[in-house]
Symmetry: C2
Subunit: 133 residues, 2 copies
DNA sequence: TTAGGTGCAAAACCTTTGCCATCCC
DNA sequence: GGGATGGCAAAGGTTTTGCACCTAA
């Protein structure tokens, strides 16, 4: 049976309270503010458990480090190719696309993930500054 | 200046000659058939160089291990959630989507990646067999 | 000739795991 | 009380890197 612990709560809170799709390391840093003695192993274990519980989603699109977000309605992401930040996009999800692709390919498509890439506003501004423009 | 070496050639050939989006390890195994003394470091270095040269693409969608494919026209992927295999999909790429998303979000979208997930035919067959059905 | 490339091995990095103490139910 | 959980540290897997030697151009 699953128990409720302050460590687990804190990990979930760190994710839910962030809009930046934090990495395990960022979550670890955040949680340590409240529970300084927490270990990284515990963070990773709880990330796994919270995924199993369906409360957290792991994102690995185009990055070598996993990022996490609190479970919510399906949506798409934008990743900045300069700073690596990931943000949620407020555009409609094409829920019918899985069915259409199934029809075309014959594969049983259960879900899809869509990630847009480019340079975020902040990085574009920073880049202009550096160029003196 | 970039040199042409048999190691680099062999790495590219291993990727181009495979339809399975091999991992670095799979490429290493394949290349060793021709060049037994090649080292993993060389494989990784060449994977990086070939990406810089624009001849190879790294795929990291929803997986913790990078997979590689020879550069070709933009296309979408299907990943089997059971065996992890990645295959190319023969469906049209929505090239206009970046522009539409830019218009909606105000972000400068340069590209997008779309991955469909499910269980491939082989794994479905295997699963039926195991259940005695 | 010589800068780029290779092989090897160690290091770096992210994540998982074994062990035992601890804590929730 | 007992099993789930935590802390610690070591191990695991993938990728990178330092160094001395080699080789394509």
């Amino acid at each position: 049976m699953r128990r409720q612990t302050k460590q687990r709560e804190a990990v979930l809170k760190a994710i839910a309270g962030s809009s930046s799709h934090p990495t395990a390391d960022m979550i670890y840093d955040e949680v340590r503010k409240a529970i300084p003695e927490i270990s990284k192993g515990t963070v990773y274990r709880n990330l796994r458990v919270l995924q199993e519980m369906g409360q957290v989603l792991e994102l690995t699109l185009d990055g070598h480090v996993s990022r996490y977000e609190a479970k919510q309605d399906s949506h798409y992401h934008f990743r900045c190719e300069s700073c690596g930040r990931v943000s949620d996009l407020d555009i409609p999800v094409d829920e019918d696309m899985n069915r259409r692709v199934s029809a075309i390919t014959g594969l049983k498509v259960a879900r899809h993930q869509l990630e847009f890439c480019g340079i975020c506003d902040e990085c574009q501004t920073a880049s202009k500054k550096n160029k003196g423009g």
